[in-house]
Symmetry: C2
Subunit: 301 residues, 2 copies
């Protein structure tokens, strides 16, 4: 990762944190009756957790291809992060992955209680659509409605939530390569793709530009998951002296388990080339997105 | 209830059921990757449960004040029902109310499992915003974005979900009249009010008409909850020979418990008068909404 990309990611994470913090600190908005304090606290716990904010970064950077200012893209970026955060809060629940810690801090249901975590997740999901449909997101209602509809499709029964459902089934089964690819495209790929496409919607990209952003988003979405699976295996191998990672150990099939490390490494290298190809026609403006693809492939955590 | 209103409610419930059934049976929509069968089945279980569909009825009837055809209001009506259904699915979860049955059938987490119920609820909530933001809802994106934003506010941390949170706290506390009124305005009132206001948005009502719809919605929202609490006490008293109802027995304060049955009955009568007053300027077109207010106050189940 270049120093420059590192700095850009840091600056973006700070800006996203500040915007989310202020969103959760606002006085009541029109149509709201009251905001129960414990619910707000639990939402903040799930949202303001020091994440890398990669998805918001992709929104801002893909919007920048069309000269949309970061400030104009920030509400969409934050809406996406609210949605991503809700998915983690619900994913950590006892009935789902049953995780006690996230980023070294107690998960929401551990810090509060299970009912509060369910409601905090529901409220973060709802807030996401509040932010996208609000005039502060973009002055053109056509753009707000399109962002809303695309995010609903990417995150709903035919996208992220459907992927979670397939993931639950995969834990007790023995998924083959096609099944793993499908669940990963849905569970993690769809939101990353949305992040890239959202910049095009904000920038009123034409059909061809949108197609290239979609392909770029699909490519780095796959790479993100492959790198994650690889990291899981290699970091376990280093730190725990065993050859298979946590997910494989839990019987959860990954492409690394099926294809092997060398094949996955070459798929990652291909993904970087493919991402570059998608971005070629955007010229110098796409430099940050090119570096982001490399960062995703090379990341060490 | 007049025979005529009864027939209108039945016809609406049938139309809403058919539309929801077909929504859940569609081929993949643009942007969707796949719809896992078990998730779809669980969503259908929570959605197609023979409900009265009162909220959709209110959308259709308030839209009719402005000569909006039922067909044009139906997508908004169904979006609201998806949202209402998700709230019931999550409300029934073990960590929340822990109910095994709803309308005599196993709740979603009983018929499937807890993780599936959490995801089915999340997916119904997401589908609600998908339906509102889709061009099929209304050709004008300004109207779609406004409906989306109003529903998000009515159902989020400052509305329904916040009300659920207050309700959880009330179960272990001893809420006073003001606290009960606040939680009821949020938990059940906000969505009923949205139903009435949504018709005005679809019909492009002016500010004064919107204010009257809001007041009507608030009035029948309160009446709905009071009637519910009263029914709980009186039906228990009749069938089980005890003077206090299920909620009071569980330590859950209601206005009936605090104010007593005669006072609540007079509040209900006042609500009918207030509803009539809100509707006066709409003339004959508001006859069905007048009868609906009486139906809500007089309902026996």
């Amino acid at each position: 990762m270049t120093t420059s990309l590192h700095q850009k990611l840091e600056a973006n994470a700070t800006a996203v944190h500040q915007r989310l913090d202020s969103t959760m600190s606002l006085q009541l908005l029109a149509g709201e009756i009251d905001r129960p304090e414990r619910l707000v606290d639990a939402m903040r716990h799930g949202l303001l957790n020091g994440g890398k904010r990669l998805r918001p970064f992709l929104v801002v950077q893909s919007a920048a291809l069309f000269d949309v200012e970061a400030e104009q893209a920030m509400q969409t970026a934050c809406a996406l992060e609210c949605l991503h955060s809700y998915s983690l809060v619900h994913d950590d629940l006892p009935a789902m992955d049953d995780d006690d810690l996230r980023r070294g801090k107690p998960t929401v249901h551990k810090a509060y209680d299970e009912a509060t975590a369910i409601l905090a997740g529901d409220a973060l999901l709802t807030l996401s659509f509040d932010l996208l449909s609000d005039p502060a997101c973009h002055p053109d209602p056509q753009i707000r409605a399109e962002l809303t509809n695309r995010l609903a499709r990417a995150s709903g029964l035919g996208g992220m939530i459907g992927g979670q459902m397939l993931d639950l089934a995969a834990e007790s089964g023995d998924p083959d390569e096609a099944e793993i690819r499908l669940l990963q495209r849905m569970k993690t790929g769809a939101l990353i793709k949305f992040a890239c496409v959202a910049g095009g919607v904000l920038g009123q990209a034409d059909a061809e530009e949108m197609a290239r952003l979609e392909r770029y988003g699909e490519t780095i979405g796959l790479a993100f998951q492959l790198a994650d699976d690889l990291l899981d295996v290699t970091s376990d191998a280093e730190t725990m002296g065993k050859a298979v990672g946590k997910d494989a150990g839990r019987g959860k099939g990954t492409l690394v388990g099926i294809l092997g490390i060398p094949r996955v490494e070459s798929l990652l290298a291909e993904a970087v080339e493919e991402a570059d190809a998608c971005l070629a026609d955007f010229g110098d403006k796409a430099q940050v997105l090119r570096e982001t693809a490399r960062f995703i492939v090379d990341r060490k955590n």
